[in-house]
């Protein structure tokens, strides 16, 4: 055996190994396999003559109505689109955008209000600078409770999808834009709040501890120290989450009035698949434009 081979063998034997990771990989594989084999997804044939006929009918029906069964004509297709846009699609696209914007800003405000109380280096008797004398057990316990409760609220907020929040809130508020905006805002406040709290916990100490050493109280540390230090990252997170808000804003409309989703649901109920696909395309276009705007905004923030 050559020296090189011996070294390779030794390195191989000394490679970092974790039983937990190996077990995780096996478990993940097992769950995926069991889902495919036992989940009943392959019980029905994925393709047969019935489905083929269904698909053919569907493809015929997504052609704009005035052009169905005729040769394609750009002028008429444009007129068909223009009528629908003026009638409701334009307004619905704007409303979808507005829902996403209102929701992410509300989520941002909620996250900023909640996050400090979930950050273990801020929510404690002696934030960022140990007190010279020991802190009482009671005070320390109280602050730990604040962190635990805030983190639990954030988990509850983000574990429930926006769609479920919207469904529940619609029952309580009735059909206005509020339930949709609130639903997206609550879910995203949970996500942003957690990300922001983790970010605050990773903030570098000297600036903040010197602020406290100079006698700044909690609010002053938060406003003069934590906010400027974390604004950039926070904005990056905000724009990232806004991209998902734009996607969800379309979908939530399927539960009530206002956004594009309402017209998707409406067209589906009337079997007007041409209008359904057009409304979906408007949503997709909004998503693509939103992603572009977000990418530009994040680049601007990153450079500043």
């Amino acid at each position: 055996m050559s020296d090189a081979q011996r070294t390779i063998d030794r390195l191989y034997a000394e490679r970092p190994r974790s039983r937990f990771l190996a077990l995780s990989a096996w478990l993940a594989t097992a769950v995926v396999l069991a889902s495919w084999l036992g989940g009943g997804f392959l019980r029905e044939p994925a393709w047969n003559s019935h489905r083929a006929a269904n698909l053919q009918r569907f493809l015929g029906e997504i052609v704009p109505y005035p052009l169905q069964g005729r040769d394609w004509n750009w002028a008429e297709a444009a007129a068909w689109f223009g009528d629908l846009w003026r009638d409701h699609l334009g307004q619905a696209t704007a409303a979808t955008l507005a829902i996403s914007v209102a929701a992410i800003l509300l989520a941002g405000v909620l996250a900023v209000l909640l996050a400090p109380w979930a950050a273990r280096n801020f929510a404690r008797p002696d934030p960022f600078l140990p007190e010279p004398r020991p802190v009482g057990r009671g005070r320390r316990g109280l602050w730990t409770a604040v962190v635990v409760v805030t983190r639990a609220v954030l988990i509850l907020l983000r574990s429930l999808p926006g769609y479920v929040w919207a469904f529940l809130l619609l029952g309580l508020f009735g059909p206005t834009a509020w339930p949709l905006v609130l639903a997206l805002a609550l879910h995203n406040a949970g996500v942003l709040g957690k990300l922001t709290a983790d970010m605050v916990e990773n903030l570098e100490g000297p600036t903040l501890s010197s602020l406290r050493g100079l006698g700044a109280h909690r609010t002053q540390i938060a406003v003069a120290g934590m906010a400027p230090l974390s604004l950039n990252r926070f904005l990056l997170y905000l724009f990232c989450r806004w991209e998902t808000c734009v996607r969800q804003a379309t979908v939530l409309g399927m539960l009530s009035l206002v956004s594009l989703g309402f017209w998707i649901q409406d067209a589906r109920a009337r079997n007007h698949y041409d209008e359904m696909v057009l409304a979906m395309a408007c949503g997709a276009l909004l998503v693509v434009v939103g992603d572009l705007v977000s990418a530009v905004a994040r680049e601007v923030v990153r450079r500043s």
Partner: protein, 295 residues
């Protein structure tokens, strides 16, 4: 003494913040968001109190008066719905990971950028020339395909498939898998491109082919972040699978909708807590895996 000049140009970040505020005002006006409407009427308060009051006492057995004798106990039913939710999400992860990895690698610049620089040096092999010529085009196509896939939300894919093929569990799985493949591809491409490249460069100099360079030079560096993101996507897939229940699939959302419409708020909270438990378990797992991968 003269005051220091204050005519600094506004920073780009200040403009972004101002635009955000303006967008917020526009959205509130466009949607007619009246804060007073947030204050529900008497009826709304009763409903809200009834619903949120049950958060502290979720149901352990079926609510309602006439429960059929052979009915599955509530908790057992919730567990079965949770298992089906996991099955939908896990099944969707397989195709989305495969497609996401292919599109993600294709969309990265890592497999052709070095060849393009070398291509100008004169005599090179056919493979290098091929990658230098077609690399940029292929990766643009991959990125576009990923963007298209993820521009349509999973629920809308489900609605499309429902209309085109009829309702099947497989259609639901594919509906989740398509946009997730697009999202995974985008993030994987970014992570592969951000991974340190010296190891890959050394392998390439030693004559390794593009597949070997990717597998042994690039992938190991990007792997921890890619794994963490894939687990996060699984967590999202769980939520998506639960929501598909609202469209008639037998996941948690189906039971949430049914119980809510029957005004069995205790049952709703039971199902909500089961969903929360699933998400929290996956999040805990993700933290554990990440800690071990990064260390």
């Amino acid at each position: 003494m003269m005051a220091p000049e204050r005519s600094r140009p506004m920073s780009a970040k200040a403009i972004v913040l101002l635009l955000l505020v303006a967008a917020g005002v526009w959205s509130a006006v466009a949607l007619d968001l009246d804060p007073r409407r947030l204050w529900p009427g008497r009826e709304g308060w009763l409903l809200a109190a009834g619903f949120f009051g049950h958060a502290f006492r979720p149901a352990l057995t079926h609510e309602g008066v006439d429960i059929p004798a052979g009915a599955t106990p509530l908790l057992l039913g919730a567990l079965a719905a949770a298992v089906r939710t996991v099955a939908f999400a896990a099944a969707a992860m397989l195709p989305s990971l495969v497609v996401g990895l292919l599109l993600g690698f294709g969309g990265s610049t890592a497999w052709w950028a070095a060849d393009r620089d070398r291509g100008q040096a004169g005599r090179v092999s056919a493979g290098v020339r091929f990658r230098a010529t077609f690399g940029p085009g292929v990766s643009t196509v991959c990125r576009l395909a990923a963007a298209l896939l993820r521009s349509v939300h999973e629920l809308l894919w489900a609605v499309l498939f429902l209309a085109a093929f009829g309702i099947t569990p497989l259609a639901a799985v594919i509906a989740i898998a398509l946009p997730y493949a697009g999202t995974l591809a985008k993030v994987f491409a970014e992570l592969i491109d951000e991974a340190p490249r010296p190891a890959a460069g050394a392998l390439r100099e030693a004559g390794a082919g593009p597949v070997a360079v990717f597998l042994f030079g690039l992938l190991p560096r990007a792997m921890p972040d890619m794994t963490a993101y894939a687990i996060y996507r699984f967590e999202c897939a769980l939520r998506a699978a639960a929501v598909l229940g609202f469209f008639g699939f037998p996941t948690l959302g189906y039971h949430i909708a049914a119980s809510f419409e029957n005004l069995y708020y205790g049952e709703v909270w039971t199902y909500l807590y089961v969903l929360v438990a699933l998400v929290v378990a996956v999040e805990w797992w993700s933290v554990q895996v990440r800690r071990r991968l990064v260390a």
